[in-house]
Symmetry: C2
Subunit: 201 residues, 2 copies
């Protein structure tokens, strides 16, 4: 059986990342890694689904135990990805998606060069603005802040492996699966098959 | 509009290359390059479909005119690929498939590093033998010669970009399309989009 692939998945807000992931996860060979955090659960958040909620002491103990693949501090809370959330699944043939923002992704480039880096982009910044306005849930100031954050994130696109434009959800999801399948067909991914065929020839 | 992609497509005999190509060519964004030859047409071969049949003098004139991307001699006949069979189609967004054997493919690596190299493999050499026997059209000696030729070709697999195992036709064709789509989503293929989005941000 083939090992799973670690996939770093980034998208600015308004790019439909959530709906894309929901579609992708209908395929049982994919799972999203669950992050661990020291912050308090928000209303509706479930331990083990949205995050693993642990105490600051427990977080420190796990750092000391070298249990994290990566971790960082935001607003006085710690967030991290446990190695156990990733490697055991990859070994059993499951593709593990790490949904992280661009800075974290760049860190991952160094820690896990075996990962696949996929960026979900809007068709254009104008379209992104239109989508964020359409939601109608944020003030114009907040929307402009989000646009600015998105533009900063878009500048990291050249550092990823693949860019998928989420114009129509169905196409974007099918593009994602094409990328994953294609990566399984590269000569390096097929090294074992090649060796086997030639050996038994 | 995006340019088409040049695809070098190789497969040993018995790998179902013909049926795969027939399926792929149902998609109008793909075409097979038609080779030019000085040999006589065989029964049922149509000029401009199976080959362009031209005289030895005409072939020499075209070599002198630098009209060939590549050409070679086999059994006192010349075979070649006209540049006009490739570049004008790529420019108009058509993906051009060059169906060539491994030696020719290795030459193409040098001439056209922009091409995508796809190898169609049998699930195993045993399965290849079974398929060739099943046809029942060749003598055991001919079959063994073909197996030997196939084994030699399989040794070139590591020099290709992608290996598609043709076990079930439908899966192999869908794998081929996944590879082509995925290549359109790489950061290098998306360079124009990235520039555009960032510029207009």
């Amino acid at each position: 059986m083939n090992k799973g692939r670690l996939i770093v998945f980034s998208a600015p807000s308004g790019c439909g990342k959530g709906t894309m992931l929901a579609e992708i996860l209908k395929d049982n060979s994919f799972r999203c890694s669950v992050s661990t955090t020291t912050r308090e659960p928000r209303k509706g958040e479930i331990d083990g689904v949205h995050y693993y909620f642990i105490s600051k002491e427990e977080f420190q103990r796990r750092i000391a135990n070298d249990e994290f693949m990566e971790y960082a501090e935001y607003c006085q809370n710690s967030y991290g990805t446990l190695k156990s959330e990733v490697d055991q699944y990859l070994e059993s043939g499951i593709n593990v998606i790490l949904e992280i923002e661009v800075q974290g992704a760049m860190k991952m480039r160094e820690i896990r060069p075996d990962a696949l880096f996929v960026f979900i982009a809007p068709p254009s910044v104008d379209e992104l603005r239109r989508r964020l306005n359409k939601r109608g849930t944020e003030t114009p100031e907040i929307i402009e802040q989000r646009i600015e954050a998105a533009v900063n994130e878009l500048k990291f696109m050249p550092k990823y492996d693949y860019i998928i434009v989420n114009d129509a959800l169905e196409d974007a999801v099918s593009d994602f699966f094409a990328v994953i399948r294609s990566e399984q067909l590269t000569v390096s991914a097929q090294a074992e098959f090649i060796e086997e065929v030639i050996k038994n020839a």
